[in-house]
């Protein structure tokens, strides 16, 4: 095993990690805001990939150009999810909250299977394809572009949450929504906004991944698992934490796959998860 292969694995792990990080950031934002884990996160990712696919298939739009459309659809579906489901279970027990989002995930996944069959699809001849070589290391261009877009989205998300007034209102709601309400912040709107932003992150990640990944109804499960682990690793509710945790998950996945055996990658991720939640339940960056 040469040094190049290891660097290759590190690079592809980091590239994948950027995507995990953005997916995890959406999950983390929603959790930080209202203490609900979106178990349908992977299914939202799957939906965004399918939307990109159908926009390409039916209208000939390349995923790069359909990105704003997919993002808006996901944002709207986030708002709908809040108004039709989450609004009613905010004060319910945790079991009910888990079951509700889990029910949503089953519904979306089987509905996708019903509409589009379990077949694997992919977008042929996207605008960005092929790979480039830098110092003997091969990088897929779609992967590189996807990570770039994800990092830019991350930057915007971070600036939005920390610098704008709405973002600060969002943070205030996350800390104590009752106190925020006395300050004139409409917490219901903030929750809806949180869902819209959280799912937009997934929309971006899914739309970019549709460039090079297979698209099928069960595609979301693994990504959602990685996102759960990344969120636990980074600390529930911490956006910067989920970036670093996403990168770690990506690295562990690709290095573990290279050094030990790629088919057990879920188990390596599981081991990090267990170690982290037992010894540092607040995550690496949680308070």
């Amino acid at each position: 095993m040469t040094i190049e292969i290891i660097i290759q694995a590190i690079v592809s792990g980091l590239l994948m990690g950027c995507i995990y990080a953005l997916i995890a950031a959406g999950l983390s934002l929603i959790f930080g805001l209202m203490g609900i884990v979106n178990f349908a996160h992977g299914e939202h990712l799957m939906l965004s990939m399918f939307f990109s696919f159908w926009l390409w298939k039916l209208l000939g739009l390349d995923p790069i150009f359909s990105l704003p459309i997919v993002l808006s659809i996901l944002a709207i579906s986030g708002i709908l999810t809040h108004y039709f489901l989450i609004r009613f279970i905010l004060k319910a027990t945790m079991l009910v909250q888990i079951c509700a989002t889990f029910g949503l995930s089953i519904f979306l996944r089987s509905f996708a299977q019903f509409l589009w069959t379990p077949d694997f699809r992919n977008i042929q001849k996207p605008l960005i394809e092929g790979r480039i070589e830098i110092l003997g290391i091969f990088i897929g261009q779609p992967q590189l572009f996807a990570s770039f877009v994800c990092l830019v989205a991350f930057l915007f998300l971070y600036l939005f949450v920390t610098k704008t007034e709405t973002g600060l209102a969002l943070q205030a709601t996350a800390q104590d929504y009752k106190a925020a309400e006395t300050l004139g912040i409409n917490s219901n709107k903030m929750f809806a906004l949180g869902w819209a932003i959280g799912l937009s992150c997934v929309g971006i990640a899914g739309s970019m991944m549709s460039n090079y990944y297979f698209i099928f109804p069960e595609v979301g499960i693994n990504f959602a698992l990685y996102a759960f682990v990344a969120v636990a690793l980074g600390g529930f509710g911490s956006i910067v934490g989920s970036l670093i945790a996403g990168l770690i998950v990506g690295l562990v996945e690709s290095l573990g796959g290279l050094l030990i055996d790629p088919s057990y990658k879920l188990i390596y991720i599981f081991i990090i998860y267990i170690v982290i939640v037992i010894y540092r339940p607040q995550g690496l960056f949680g308070k």
Binding site: I98, A100, F102, S110, Q113, T117, Y264
Partner: protein
């Protein structure tokens, strides 16, 4: 005097722990008799199969109810115990010719051991953390069994057909009726067991742990110990179902025995019927399993997955409108009168 005191105390305890309504017992007895004589009416093979599936899922969801409903931990990977049970009994039968009855017993022991081993670290986690951990464990087990050549890896193994010693080999090729009775016996005994457990001291302690771990701890109930006990009991109840199911379909493979959907369906059943109540899983099963079996007939089993669409919708509706399950539709007064 002191002995008198003791007696009255135990009587009081017995009364508070064992309130039984005679009418309710008669209803159950009649239901059991009807179930026993059901095959006599020569029903179609499909109806026997439907009943077997109801017994299977009612028992599995009861097992999930013990960990989730009685002790409050939501396991999303409960299928691993089903898989361990199925794999143990089938593997012992194929390799060494050991009767599946004995294999089932070994499977229960394995499941309990695995439950304790994974329970010690992860039962310390609460809420979402535990749910995510079990989700990961479920998929990890499937991955391991998919790669394990000794047990047939991803393609699984067919259980060799034996035509003699039907009861010893637990294979019946002429009719499904013996399977019906075996599943029925397991169903009844596990429900009886849970009913007793629910009313036992352990049951009360488990519910105390579920409702308020801090208060339970302050009363001297070891929260982690009782959670592990509940997890082990739950695993031990799930495991024989895996053994029986693998003998019923006579093939084991990781995609069937460690199917993520089983974990989901038993969760849906319990939440729909009413979590934390002994009869909730039975109510949920009697609604959901016929729904899925009939939808399989009308829409075809592959791809369609109409049943899961309906399940998903139902579960969201239940969470919004009846978070305590359909069993809560029965008025409280009747529940109290009949002491169910």
């Amino acid at each position: 005097m002191s002995t008198n005191n003791k007696i009255s105390l135990t009587q009081a305890q017995r009364e508070s722990l064992w309130p039984i309504n005679v009418k309710f017992l008669y209803t159950i007895a009649i239901a059991i008799i009807l179930l026993i004589i059901f095959p006599v009416f020569n029903p179609q093979a499909f109806h026997i199969h439907l009943m077997i599936m109801i017994f299977l899922y009612a028992t599995m969801s009861q097992s999930w109810n013990v960990i989730a409903g009685f002790s409050g931990q939501i396991s999303l990977g409960h299928v691993i115990f089903f898989g361990i049970g199925g794999y143990t009994s089938s593997f012992l039968f194929i390799q060494y010719g050991i009767s599946p009855w004995f294999g089932m017993f070994i499977g229960v022991i394995f499941s309990v051991i695995v439950a304790v081993i994974i329970g010690i670290p992860i039962l310390r986690l609460s809420g979402h953390y535990f749910a995510i951990a079990t989700l990961l464990i479920g998929f990890s087990f499937q991955t391991i069994f998919q790669r394990w050549d000794l047990v047939g890896a991803a393609s699984g193994i067919w259980i060799p057909l034996k035509w003699e010693n039907e009861w010893f080999n637990l294979q019946f090729h002429d009719s499904k009726v013996p399977y019906y009775y075996i599943f029925l016996i397991f169903f009844i005994s596990i429900y009886l067991f849970t009913w007793i457990l629910y009313r036992s001291k352990i049951g009360f302690k488990l519910r105390a742990v579920r409702d308020d771990p801090q208060a339970a701890l302050s009363l001297g109930i070891s929260v982690s110990k009782y959670k592990i006990i509940a997890f082990a009991i739950s695993a031990g109840m799930m495991s024989p179902m895996g053994s029986l199911f693998s003998q019923y379909i006579l093939v084991i493979d990781p995609d069937r025995m460690f199917n993520f959907e089983i974990s989901i369906i038993i969760l849906l059943i319990v939440v729909m019927g009413g979590i934390g109540n002994v009869w909730g899983p039975l109510l949920g099963t009697s609604l959901l399993i016929p729904l899925s079996e009939y939808s399989r007939i009308y829409f075809g089993g592959t791809g369609g997955s109409i049943d899961l669409i309906v399940y998903g919708l139902l579960i969201m509706l239940i969470c919004i409108f009846k978070p305590s399950g359909l069993i809560s539709l029965i008025p409280n007064k009747i529940m109290r009168q009949n002491k169910i």
